[in-house]
Every structure is written in structure tokens, then in C-alpha cells.
């Protein structure tokens, strides 16, 4: 996903996390969160959470507002003291180490740039707190300014910068001290869509170049998907699932994750047979059973949900004749045009409404489909996923 084009030389993008340290049992984690809880009065913001993050990862904590993700990040930064459990960074217990002594820096959602200091002053601030020589500070500031391409803005005050420029100053300031871990709180939330996409790749590039471990907190699943080595999906102070973007998207642990990470159609059904990782499910919306592969252990007779992503469904005017595909007839109930793709809500014969998204591969001079048009939906049954309900 990462494109890097520097010094005119074209470098072939490669999978930055091909070696997947989290799969190696003897790899020591760089950050260990051990049974950490945080209480605010009677409210458990973070509830007995354990997590290992490895050196050089770009780890995202994904969740809705109030799920405890920011509290967890603030405990890593040292702004909140865990009520229970401990936190280790690079083998050292930092649970009770104050924020100003942690080898960790944070990029704030509000950027928190010092308004009374220039861009340079902001970036140099952390360096001046260490006993660093003036020349070394100047050198590092120049280096950071180059990294975020703000050299010509060095004497500006934050209020003289655009939102994107402020974001880059905040990033440069947080990276200037060469922290072992960089914490990012909703790093792209305040940027507009175009800038967000561009900055996503910049962030990933910088992370790759400096090899700093990034921990990102975000509520934006797209941001988490494109950036991360791994994602932890959080809900009610606990992790629902921890895995690579691919795993979380294609193999969500439950309906919450499936729905939070992208859109999802859920069909309810009853398990009629299960063996060797194969289950046969009778779906209420379609006649006949369907046999699916699954990691879930479900017994015959249990109710399950079967999930199907909207983009894995095809819309056609004629019934497809491929016998491997599952098909359903329906009418277009509603549709939305998003430029590169269209989203349809199709009412199938069982009255259920199914969401379908289709790439607009061909340029139509006018709308390709009409409301109430009779269509056929088809999909590969292996695209369906069994989720315990």
C-alpha cells in the first residue's frame, strides 16, 4: 500500500510487516500492557486489558467514543495512573513513571501547539528540556523541519499556519526527541478528506523511515485499515479483537467488529451440522442450507449470524448461471451514487434489505439502475462468515 518516491529514485513498495513479529513466540514485545484497568469513580473506562506491541509496529486502537481507547493511550503517555495492572516499555516498568520522564511522546488530537512559540520553538521545546547542546538542537530542528517540509515556515506562529501544517508541526515536535514510542490521538481527525489520505501515507512513510513504534488511537476504521500493522478493536473498555487489518476485516470476531470495521449484512440462521471446521447453516432468508468454513466452534442447533460484506455481492439484471454462486432475486429499494462506487439497498424476496456496493467500472451517461428495478444478487458462499450471536 505504501508508495515511496524519494530523490527521484523509485523504490518498490514492499510489505513493511512481512516478518510479523507478533506471530513469533520468542519475540519480546516492546510495549507490554498487563491486566490494566482504569476506574473513574464507579465507571470502568478500561477493564482488565492486556496487550503486546512489538518494536516498529504501527498499532491502532480502534473504537467508538467512550470505549476507553483514549484513556488507554493517556495511561501509556503517563497522564493517567492505571487503577490496576502495569505497563512496561522496552522492558522497564513505567506504570508509575511521570509523563516527563517517559521515553514516549504524544501527538495530541488538538495538536496542543504552544501558541506563544514559533514553529521552531515548538519543535525545539522538548529538546531544550534535555541537556542538549545548542548546535545539536539546531541540527535536530532543521532535520525535523525537513522531514515535515516546513523549513520555510520555521518562524511562523501556530495561528499563522493551516490545519495541515499545524498537524505536521505537532508531528515534528513529538518526533524531535526520538521517542521510543509515539502516541497519536486521532492524528487525522481534524483534516479534510483529501489531506487525510495524503497524510496517512506520509505518516506511514515517516514511521518506516524512523522505525519508531506508533500507537494510534482512532475511531476512523479506514484510517486504521490503511495505516496499521495491527488493529485492536475496543468496546466498553475491553478488546474485542486484536489482529491485522486483513484479519479484522475478513474474519471479524463478532458482529460489533464486523459492523464497526466496514459495513455488513447479517443473516440469521440455525446450525444444522458441524464438523471439521465446516458448518451447515439454514438461513431464514434463503431456501436450502449453505456449508461454510469457520474457526468458530458452534454446535448444531445453535442460532448464528452469517455476515456478508456489501462489496462481495454482485448485482445483475439476469440470473447468473454459475451454480457455485448463491443468488437472490429482489428489487432496488434505494440507491446512492458515490462517484467511484454506488451503494444499493436491495429488498430480496424474504423482505430483508441487503446492502450492496458496486464499483462504477463503466462510465454511464445517466443512472444505470432505476428504483424498483428487478435485479439478481449473487455471491460466492465462501464470502459469508459465521459469527456466533
Amino acid at each position: 500500500m505504501r508508495s515511496s518516491e524519494q530523490n527521484g529514485q523509485r523504490e518498490r513498495p514492499k510489505d513493511p510487516w512481512a516478518d510479523s513479529p507478533w506471530l513469533k513466540p520468542d519475540e519480546t514485545p516492546f510495549i507490554r500492557i498487563e491486566n490494566v484497568s482504569k476506574m473513574f469513580g464507579d465507571f470502568r473506562a478500561v477493564d482488565d486489558v492486556s496487550l503486546s506491541i512489538y518494536r516498529g509496529e504501527l498499532f491502532s486502537i480502534l473504537g467508538g467514543s467512550g470505549c476507553g481507547k483514549t484513556t488507554l493511550l493517556r495511561m501509556l503517555a503517563g497522564f493517567e495512573l492505571p487503577s490496576e495492572g502495569r505497563i512496561l516499555i522496552d522492558g522497564k516498568d513505567v506504570t508509575r513513571v511521570p509523563a516527563y520522564e517517559r521515553p514516549v511522546n504524544m501527538m495530541f488530537q488538538s495538536y496542543a501547539l504552544f501558541p506563544h512559540m514559533t514553529v521552531e520553538g515548538n519543535i525545539a521545546y522538548g529538546l531544550k528540556r534535555d541537556a542538549m547542546s545548542r548546535s545539536a538542537i539546531r541540527e535536530r530542528v532543521n532535520e525535523m523541519l525537513q522531514l515535515v517540509q516546513l523549513t520555510e515556515f520555521r518562524t511562523r506562529k501556530p495561528n499563522q499556519l493551516s490545519g495541515g501544517q499545524r498537524q505536521r508541526v505537532a508531528l515534528a515536535r513529538a518526533l524531535a526527541k526520538r521517542p521510543k514510542v509515539l502516541l497519536l490521538d486521532e492524528p487525522l481527525a481534524a483534516l479534510d478528506k483529501k489531506l487525510r489520505e495524503q497524510t496517512q501515507f506520509e505518516l506511514a512513510n515517516i514511521q518506516d523511515k524512523l522505525g519508531v513504534t506508533f500507537v494510534v488511537v482512532t475511531h476512523d476504521q479506514e484510517e486504521a485499515m490503511t495505516l496499521s500493522s495491527r488493529i485492536a478493536v475496543m468496546k466498553n473498555g475491553r478488546f474485542v479483537q486484536v489482529g491485522t487489518p486483513h484479519e479484522v476485516y475478513e474474519n471479524p470476531a463478532d458482529t460489533y467488529t464486523a459492523d464497526f470495521v466496514g459495513n455488513i449484512n447479517l443473516f440469521s440462521g440455525m446450525v444444522t451440522a458441524a464438523q471439521d471446521g465446516q458448518v451447515t447453516v439454514d438461513l431464514t432468508d434463503f431456501p436450502g442450507g449453505v456449508t461454510l468454513a469457520t474457526h468458530q466452534t458452534v454446535r448444531p442447533g445453535t442460532e448464528v449470524s452469517v455476515a456478508l460484506r456489501p462489496e462481495k455481492i454482485f448485482v445483475t439484471r439476469d440470473r447468473p448461471d454459475d451454480p457455485k454462486l448463491m443468488t437472490a432475486a429482489g428489487i432496488i429499494f434505494d440507491q446512492g451514487y458515490f462517484g467511484k462506487l454506488s451503494v444499493f439497498r436491495v429488498q430480496i424476496d424474504s423482505q430483508k434489505i441487503v446492502q450492496v456496493s458496486a464499483q462504477n467500472r463503466i462510465r454511464f451517461s445517466k443512472r444505470a439502475w432505476d428504483w424498483d428495478e428487478h435485479v439478481f444478487l449473487s455471491w460466492d458462499p465462501q464470502s459469508m462468515l459465521v459469527l456466533a450471536s
Binding site: 503517555a77 503517563g78 497522564f79 511521570p98 509523563a99 516527563y100 520522564e101 514516549v104 511522546n105 504524544m106 495530541f108 488538538s110 496542543a112 501547539l113 504552544f114 501558541p115 506563544h116 521545546y125 522538548g126 528540556r129 534535555d130 515536535r173 513529538a174 526527541k177
Partner: protein, 319 residues
């Protein structure tokens, strides 16, 4: 051509209606300037008019008459000079050491009181700004509460506290710190106590308003970048609260400089303050021109430094 000239009155008639509509349109368009201009005009007139009168009196000679100063304009037919002004009062002020000493002494009282108010008020304002919502309102109310009693009455109360057999002396004797009563009233200490007590709210309130808005993220960001708590205060809190500090200091210093009641009631005959001298010149000596000159010099001494300060601040900001 003729068609075009015919058009003009027609469009005018359509654009403006009756007088009422025109007034309404005018108000609608200019309400902002009117809302600002009217009160400012009021303030300007009732500041400038007395100022002009006082300035005029300061340029006259004292005489025993009613009013007790020479008129500036003489309309009588046999007058040698139609306009009479003199700088004699200002020359007298400059040459008399008493006035110099009084100005300096007033300045010292006001400056020390301002610094004391700042030292006491800053931590208070900070604590109030960082308090829980429910307690914060109570704390603010307590700061404002003294204003519900007359200022004069509160200064009188201090006389009772500082008296030879007042509460403070009785307490000191009872605790065994001293055998006999200590002279507290009619000393510098009494004036400082009165000034700091009376003007502390004027320091706390602007500081509170400033500190309450201070973005907590900035403090955390500084701490995150390695600043110890005192460094966070020095590098972020203090510079960010500078506008509040300046506002508070001006609000304390300016009225303290011209204070009359506190030195008159709590101070002794040696504790010179310009407000008292002004009062004495006016009412005991009935020398209105000198009193007016004292007031004008005081005003100039207060306004000029502030204007200079603002000028340089603007310059620094522009850079």
C-alpha cells in the same frame, strides 16, 4: 439617453420608502456602530468635560473668592488680558520636594501592594480555575462577596482589627508573642493591609478569567515533552496568563496609586499618599489650582506609561 435619465427617480422611489422605513434601514445597517458609539460618546463627554474643567483650574491662580481661583476668560471691558493662564502651579509642584516625595511614596505603596496582590492572587486564581465546577462557583462568590458591603465600612473594620486593643493585638498578647499592644494602626503596614485586602479581588478576577481558559492539553504537551511541573508553569502557564497578569496589575495599581480612604483612615501623618495630599489641598487649604495640578500630574503619570507600554507591545507583536 432620455430613457436612462427617467429611470433614476423611479429606482430611488423604489429603494427608499417612508421616513420610518429609512430610519429602520439605517438602524439595521448601522446598529453595531450605534451600540458602540452612544455609550462611548457618553463616557467621552463625561470624562473629557471634568478633565477640561480640572485642567482649566490648574492653570489659574488661587484667590479668596467664590470660586477660589482666577477666571481664565475675562470679558470685562477694562481687562488687560482677555485670557489668563499660568504655569505657576506646575512650577510650584516641581520645586516643592513634598509633592515629589508624595508621588514616589504613592508609587511605592501602589507597586508593593500590586506585587503582593499578584503573589497572593495568582495561586488563588489558579486554584479556583482548576477547582471542580461546584466548588468553583462558591469560591468565586466568596471573592465577590466583600463588594456587597460598603468599601468605607470595610476599611473602618480594619481600624477595629488593627487597633491598640483590637482583635489582632489581643490575639498576639493572648498567644504570648508580645507583652503589650503593638502599634499596627497608622503605619505603613496598615496601609498595605488595607490596599491588598481591598484590591485583591481586582487581581483575582481577571487572572481567573484568563487561567480558566488555559488549554489543559498545552500543559500535558509540555509535560509530555519532558518539562517538570515548575518548567510547565514557567514555559506555558505563566506566558499564557500574561494578559491576565497585566490586566490585574493595572486594575490594582491605578486605583491604589490615587487611593484616599485607606491612607486617610489607616495611615499615619507620615504615610504620604497623593490622594490624601489632593484632598488636603482642596478642602483644608482651599487651593483649588494646586489640587487640580496635582490631579493632572497624577493622571499624566498613570496614563503615559500605560500608553507607552501598549505602544511597545503592539510593536513587539508586529515583529
Amino acid at each position: 439617453m432620455s430613457a436612462a435619465t427617467d429611470m433614476v427617480p423611479a429606482t430611488r422611489a423604489a429603494g427608499y420608502g417612508s421616513l420610518g422605513k429609512r430610519v429602520y434601514a439605517l438602524l439595521n445597517r448601522h446598529w453595531q456602530s450605534i451600540a458602540i458609539a452612544l455609550p462611548y460618546a457618553w463616557l467621552l463627554i463625561f470624562f473629557l468635560a471634568p478633565f477640561a474643567i480640572v485642567f482649566k483650574i490648574s492653570l489659574a491662580d488661587p484667590i479668596i473668592a467664590r470660586p477660589p481661583f482666577t477666571p481664565m476668560f475675562d470679558w470685562s471691558a477694562d481687562a488687560a488680558n482677555r485670557i489668563y493662564v499660568t504655569a505657576e502651579n506646575y512650577r510650584f509642584l516641581l520645586n516643592d520636594r513634598l509633592y515629589w516625595l508624595t508621588y514616589i511614596s504613592s508609587f511605592r505603596f501602589a507597586a508593593v501592594a500590586t506585587v503582593l496582590c499578584l503573589l497572593i492572587g495568582y495561586p488563588m486564581a489558579y486554584a479556583i480555575a482548576r477547582a471542580k465546577d461546584s466548588t468553583r462557583n462558591i469560591l468565586l462568590l466568596l471573592v465577590i462577596l466583600p463588594f456587597w458591603t460598603s468599601f468605607l465600612l470595610r476599611v473602618y473594620a480594619w481600624m477595629g482589627l488593627l487597633n491598640q486593643n483590637g482583635i489582632i493585638n489581643n490575639l498576639l498578647i493572648w498567644l504570648g508573642f508580645t507583652d503589650g499592644p503593638v502599634q499596627l494602626l497608622y503605619t505603613d503596614f496598615a496601609i498595605y493591609a488595607g490596599l491588598v485586602y481591598s484590591y485583591l479581588p481586582f487581581m483575582i478576577l481577571p487572572l481567573y478569567a484568563n487561567l480558566e481558559r488555559l488549554d489543559e492539553d498545552l500543559l500535558e504537551a509540555a509535560s509530555d515533552l519532558g518539562a517538570r511541573p515548575w518548567q510547565v508553569f514557567r514555559d506555558v502557564t505563566l506566558p499564557m496568563s500574561m494578559p491576565g497578569i497585566i490586566a490585574g496589575c493595572l486594575l490594582v495599581f491605578i486605583p491604589a496609586m490615587g487611593e484616599y480612604v485607606i491612607p486617610a483612615l489607616l495611615g499615619g501623618p507620615d504615610n504620604l499618599m497623593i490622594g490624601r495630599v489632593l484632598y488636603d489641598e482642596f478642602f483644608f487649604n482651599r487651593d483649588w489650582p494646586i489640587a487640580s495640578a496635582v490631579a493632572i500630574v497624577l493622571l499624566a503619570a498613570l496614563v503615559l506609561p500605560i500608553m507607552l507600554f501598549q505602544h511597545f507591545e503592539k510593536k513587539a507583536e508586529a515583529q
